[in-house]
Symmetry: C3
Subunit: 202 residues, 3 copies
């Protein structure tokens, strides 16, 4: 319980930073715009999952730590964005940390609410990627998941592996770390070597 909560906060912080830095590319967002985008990136996926699963109240409505964490991420981005952007891959690393943690957190929440295996994996992936999809749609960018390297597919693979290992009776915390690491590893390798899934139409 404690460990999961810490993971959720780290994931939230990572997504808030990745959201605040994503606005940077346009150079035109004001403080409110960046705050809005950071919030959507951090809580969009979880909110959609909770709406779909009829799970109320929404997580961030009852836990102000999430809100404080997001504000921390925004302030850190404002203070250190030059350093963050100098390392070209920083944004990607924060985002990868976020999707790895949120996939498993979302999958477990769906399971605990009685969803079947397929829906749990889909909800895990949704929790991880939909914040970014909503963000990209709002700022009129084509969502990363449609056009770039392996991304959401890594979340789906990690989710499936989590379910398989769970089925073999592996300890939950160890499973969380293994499955999350696999998601992060696949994503980083795909990013580094520019790996994509095959195109649908040849």
């Amino acid at each position: 319980m404690q460990i999961q909560y810490i993971f959720e906060m780290i994931g939230t912080l990572a997504f808030a930073i990745s959201g605040a830095l994503a606005g940077d590319e346009r150079q035109k967002h004001d403080w409110f715009g960046i705050t809005f985008i950071a919030f959507i990136t951090a809580i969009g996926g979880g909110t959609l999952r909770d709406l779909f699963l009829d799970s109320y109240p929404l997580v961030w409505f009852n836990d102000m730590n999430i809100v404080y964490t997001i504000f921390c991420g925004i302030i850190l981005s404002g203070l250190f964005y030059k350093q963050f952007n100098r390392l070209k891959t920083t944004l990607m690393l924060f985002d990868t940390l976020g999707i790895a943690l949120f996939t498993i957190v979302g999958l477990e929440k769906a399971q605990s609410l009685g969803a079947n295996n397929f829906i749990s994996v889909v909800m895990g992936m949704f929790t991880a990627v939909m914040g970014g999809v909503i963000r990209d749609t709002l700022i009129n960018k084509t969502p990363t998941i449609f056009v770039q390297e392996i991304y959401a597919t890594a979340c789906i693979l990690g989710g499936v592996i989590y379910l398989v290992l769970e089925n073999f009776g592996l300890d939950r915390n160890i499973n969380f770390i293994i499955s999350g690491s696999i998601i992060a590893t696949i994503r980083i390798i795909a990013f580094k070597f520019n790996l994509s899934l095959p195109k649908f139409y040849k």
Copy 2:
């Protein structure tokens, strides 16, 4: 009951194919992207309807046949997309079949949950068109319903006719077929003769 279920599956298949083929225009979507788009096209409208009507669990969470049907549509699109695209109107025909069936299915579901006539017609139209609207928004296209030939209006007309005929005591299955056929006929005529509603501002 049985007949409605078969209609729902045909509509789902039609929308999944229309969604998978819609990605084609860009030529850049990978397997995951196309799968995602096909799912959104097929279940987006019904999901939005269920969220609005507080109807849980969402249909596709409890009925894996919907999921299998969508995967069938994606595989069919992958195998036969050259044939599908050769006939310029195929995409339109699958889409028309989808909106005709989903309008009545959505209208009936709203009715069964106690919605009034106006809301039922709107929810029928939503079920039919919102999957496509969400899809178009995500891939940065202006949604068809804002700019092209008569489309959502056909759904609204068909929904109103369904309610009128129901009021006259017509058998439900016959009503379903008549109203759905009217939607499809209006849409096909509008497409063939390029008919649009008058512009709002002259």
Copy 3:
């Protein structure tokens, strides 16, 4: 109760008009498209708030007056759009009236459903601005709140002032009028003098 209801209807009318006129810029929307956009602008924010707060049925599902009011706004826009557009600031004024009224209405609804102060202010702002955000996203425009003069920030400030005055025991109706007027005043001054928040990245 009566006063709030009248305020809600005025806000709905104002947003419906602002939505119908927003479509004008493109000159290509048909009657259905404009109707759809006017509805989304008027009820999008409230619908999102109700989904987030698990408040069912959605307001416009049970109160046909809202629907009639929106149709009135659309018809007025169709009849007088030349006059509306001649005064360059008309669209802004209708929109300002809408956000001022909806912020407080949304905040109070969130409060009455047990939300904390932070969430209530956010839900007030959401009620006010998200209809416009969804509208802009659907017609492929970058949402106003990300790039223009002080807008959502005025709603947040007004919401905070409402809570402070409420805490001091001010009569609710007077508080409603004061806080709403502050939102409208900030927005009009920001529009007139082209005031923006500082950019996040310098």
